[in-house]
């Protein structure tokens, strides 16, 4: 947690019991299936920190991002940004508070507009900012993210992947939001370009006092950028902790498996046995009890019948029956 930053009255992001269900039709006669993408998620992100969100494909990371951005209404629960209910804000007010950066800058940038106009879009949409000011702020922002004047006149197709991501970042920051939601911002980039973008994001956060929600399937990247980490599994956050604590001493069996599967560039270590078996999780068919039990190497009798509840740890929560046992084995503490 970044307590050095000015003590803000509200967390930058707060989500309460957030839930999102998708109904997926499977043909004319079959009943629609329910996909529970986000299933009772609560957390707070203090201003100035970076919450990393990790988990396997399909676990609900992007759905969580879209709920927090207000791009998708929740089935239940609520989102507060800077202490204000997202649902009660209009689009322009929301845009001044929170902005996205997505994985594929190509898909999210209008191919028929010049970079300069793409970056100006959020300012124009506010409706009350004078033209000269828009021009000035766009130029300043392009410069800030390392794009030249000349690149500002180009179309997205004339830029490299890394440059397009710089455009997306400039567009996200031009309104000076408090919070930026980054969904796999470097996953489509080469490592050398990924490093450039990660360095830029870190610099901007420091200089502009931003708060990030940072989604990535690359745990080494998350370890490098995040101050706190949430581990998602089938729609729930099964462990959340300060980044250092989580990477030094993961507690949930799933977190441990995820960390074990990271291949750091250290020769001689071989490829670890992750021990998860080959049953893949399916959000349309969430197992009873602990949703991780079919793959958990430590599952015991209680796991398939009773769902674990979040248990507070020193810096976050963990959701596993083993924590109960550990707590029970300890003498009662204050």
């Amino acid at each position: 947690m970044n307590v050095a930053a000015a003590p803000a009255a509200h967390p930058a992001i707060e989500v309460r019991d957030l839930r999102r269900v998708f109904r997926v039709r499977q043909g004319l006669f079959a009943p629609p299936r329910e996909v529970v993408a986000v299933d009772g998620v609560s957390f707070r992100v203090p201003a100035g920190s970076v919450l990393g969100v990790v988990g396997e494909s399909g676990c609900g990371k992007s759905t969580l991002a879209r709920l927090i951005l207000g791009l998708l209404p929740p089935t239940a629960g609520e989102v507060l940004v800077d202490g204000r209910r997202l649902a009660e804000m209009d689009r322009r007010a929301r845009a001044r508070l929170i902005q996205p950066v997505f994985q594929d800058p190509f898909a999210s940038l209008n191919p028929r507009r010049r970079v300069r106009d793409i970056v100006a879009m959020p300012l124009v949409a506010q409706g009350d900012i004078p033209r000269e000011e828009i021009g000035r702020r766009v130029a300043e922002m392009l410069d800030r993210v390392g794009l030249s004047r000349e690149q500002g006149d180009r179309f997205p197709a004339q830029l490299s992947g890394g440059q397009r991501q710089r455009v997306a970042i400039a567009r996200a920051l031009v309104l000076r939001p408090r919070v930026v939601v980054c969904d796999e911002p470097t996953s489509a980039l080469d490592v050398s370009v990924q490093a450039q973008i990660l360095n830029l994001l870190a610099e901007l956060r420091r200089d502009l006092g931003l708060t990030y929600l940072f989604i990535s399937h690359n745990l080494a990247v998350v370890e490098h950028v995040a101050t706190e980490v949430a581990v998602m599994y089938l729609g729930r956050i099964v462990e959340r902790a300060e980044a250092e604590a989580l990477f030094a001493a993961p507690r949930h069996p799933y977190t441990r498996a995820l960390l074990a599967s990271v291949l750091t560039p250290e020769p001689g270590l071989g490829v670890p046995d992750v021990g998860l078996g080959d049953v893949m999780p399916d959000p349309a068919n969430i197992p009873p009890g602990c949703r991780f039990h079919p793959r958990c190497p430590l599952a015991f009798a209680r796991c398939p019948v009773e769902a674990p509840i979040p248990i507070a740890t020193a810096t976050g929560i963990v959701e596993c029956h083993l924590e109960d046992r550990a707590a029970a084995a300890q003498p009662a503490a204050a």
Partner: protein, 328 residues
Amino acid sequence: MSALLEVAGLQVRFGEVAAVRGASLTVNRGETHCLVGESGCGKSVTALAVMGLLARGAKREAERIVFAGQDLRGLSDRAMSRLRGDRMAMIFQEPMTSLNPSYTIGSQMTEVLRRHRPGTTRARAVDRAVELLGRVGITAPGMRLGQYPHQLSGGLRQRVMIAMALMCEPELLIADEPTTALDVTVQAQILRLLAELQRDLGLAILLITHDLGIVARVAHRVSVMYAGEVVESAPTAALFAAPCHPYTRGLLSCVPVPGKVRRDQPLGSIPGVVPRIPPGFAGCAFRDRCAHARAECASNVPRRAVGPGHEFLCTLAPDWACAEPVPA
């Protein structure tokens, strides 16, 4: 250790793009050779050139492409297709490039064997398919035989593709980014599987990846590719202990490694992007991104030996790197 595949002086052109520019590499029996580099460096084109699978319009030239003592350059299309899927097999990043959506897993797997081994009975081919699906860690292989590719998860499809590639007991397996699209957990499972199969079957593997983590964990030997050239080649331990080429060192410094770079410190990075090289280009293709570039880098660049089996392509003296700190 005997060489199974030897490629020397490979060049591939697509019109005004020189995709591969004189690449050489050797894959030994029982070894994993990793070809690493950023996208567009020519890794896939190198693999496709060896397999005789280049797109129409591509122009291939080479000093040598020798597989198990046989020169592949002069082989007819028919002879090449007899080799492919039999003694040499390839798996791709996207399993659907080799799986046909309209046939069951079982019929595709048995077809491969029966095409290359006429006279194999159906029952025998089914037995082999079941055995291999089990071998690649698929539970209930009998049931999977009747399923279509779209009914499987990405990880399962990747395993099916590996099993299919093994139907005829190939000596060489070329795997092009086989785990790039998969979750890290599944990636670890697939890579373990490949290592196990190699140990048990004595396979030679040419593994293409952009991930230095994978290279460190599975490769015996590494070739680093940049703009169509192999700029450094070394036994894995030597490459990571003493990387010599400025590109190799740059790549290593870009990768966040837990405990190595502090959170508030910037990662190392390489300015700019991989260039597109026209035919006839002279000098080092990395020079517009290299902090050490000098006038002589625009003319002939020597390939220098630094240790046993360790070479790099650069004008810097072999000991320059020793004077520099190892990248953070």
